[in-house]
Assembly symmetry: C2
DNA sequence: AAGTGGTCTAGACCACGCC
DNA sequence: GCGTGGTCTAGACCACTTA
């Protein structure tokens, strides 16, 4: 039962324990690479490898010239239901109050474009890859720090001549603009994928190493099952909790077929 | 605008492009460390650093003696609503059919214990940290490969003398056992956290480097807002999509206060 | 046995932040 | 300037897989 771990693993495990024990609280600086090479009698590359472990696990961040510090994770609430289901229970209120971060200034930038549908969007909107789609690209920030990305796609044939193409903020919410075309969204399907960010997402969201993201794909439908819009959200894992609330349906009804 | 990237980044970016272009399809072997040192005229450690990038982004996996291969990601559907909301729309059916993987053999192991409540569970069940809780720990597997972890917690004072403490599978679903105590779950709140796995999760789920997980905390409530159970699911990002379906509530009702 | 990736060394020089 | 982490080299030996 002596696992005989490599040196860099022993160092990493040791530091992890010391961090979790509170010896190095969030925001504090852990030993430098030089200190680790001295204390553990290893080459600097080995100490670096130990630190790389912790960085990739999202526990610490290294900054050139400054040192390596313990990460502080504080979660904002991300609630997909908020737009269409304003009613929340008392329990939900409690969670939101516990988890939300107040006193920070929200802002967002909006960018509107016509693009060719990629595979994800095309499949959700019932289009062919390459068909034109109207996109509203938003980056939401908090205190100037980018917080999440939200790209909303519409079939250009349907949305091309609506207020959706206006890069300004749409007062009553862009989800209601399509109703002028007779497309009333009554239902949505949420898909959540967990993965590491690609390089574009890293730079747009200013993500550190070891930060996974959720890709949330929300597709809205009319009562007669036609897709209205497809939203793609990129949610950095180190800054968000995703929240849902469900009312149970205890009648064992068969799956809808009509 | 010449970014002047370090060598390992150029190599990593180059390989990433070649992988995404289809030159190296999922499952195929990418150039060896030796080949990279020759082709890019760098030291082996530099080639290794390039590969480490791709590993930590979840794009490839390295195996001693075998080589480095492109990862194949195929998503199983994970649908938190399944237990209590069997009714699904035609659109949902379409998604499930598209995304699910058939022909694989599911199995699960169940382990029952009484433990002390940790901070997460205690807060959800309205207990103090250290209070006794009944736990049903499940590992779900597919073709013998562990797929996800599901630990269900109950207040021991309420569940101690029910069928929940039976390590066998509970025919009608363990969520209905608490009803014998007058605790009928009518609502649930889902919290989803995105993060890198801890070492226990890595070994229990046999996770490769660069695989993030979702921690799904589901808390069930009675009609009078008492918590009934707290489920903690660990969902590996490389094997799951999380799916929700929502029916919009367009009456702008005020938040519940009663 | 040959080839793969994993670990480790002992140096070097560079880029960044702070005093 | 000094200390921090970032990049890079040219080797070495080990562990695992395949043939």
């Amino acid at each position: 039962m002596s696992p005989d771990l490599p040196a860099y693993r022993r160092i990493a495990d040791d530091l992890r324990v010391r961090i979790q024990s509170g010896e190095f609280p969030p925001g504090s600086t852990i030993p430098t690479q030089q200190e680790l090479t001295d204390q553990y009698k290893v080459a600097r590359m080995t100490a670096r490898q130990a630190l790389a472990e912790l960085v990739n696990q999202g526990l610490v961040v290294s900054q050139q010239g400054k040192g390596t510090t313990v990460r502080d994770v504080r979660h904002m609430v991300y609630r997909p239901q908020a737009e269409f289901e304003p009613r929340i229970s008392a329990e939900m209120d409690r969670f939101m109050a516990q988890l939300s971060q107040d006193g920070r200034k929200p802002s967002q930038s909006i960018d509107v474009a016509v693009e060719s549908a990629g595979p994800i969007v095309a499949a959700r909107l019932g289009l062919d890859i390459g068909d034109p789609v109207a996109v509203r690209k938003r980056v939401r920030s908090l205190d100037g720090e980018p917080f999440n990305i939200n790209d909303t796609y519409y079939d250009f044939k349907l949305a091309g001549d609506t207020a959706i193409m206006n890069p300004a903020d749409i007062p009553q919410g862009s989800n209601f603009v399509m109703e002028s075309k007779g497309l009333v969204e009554v239902r949505a399907i949420d898909e959540i994928y967990i993965r590491m960010p690609n390089s574009e997402e890293v730079s747009r969201l200013n993500l550190g190493a070891g930060t996974p993201v959720a890709m949330h794909v929300a597709t809205g439908y009319t009562a007669d099952d036609r897709p209205v819009r497809c939203d793609i959200f990129i949610i950095p894992g180190d800054r968000h909790v995703i929240l849902f609330e469900r009312i149970h349906n205890r009648q064992d009804a068969p799956a809808a077929t009509s």
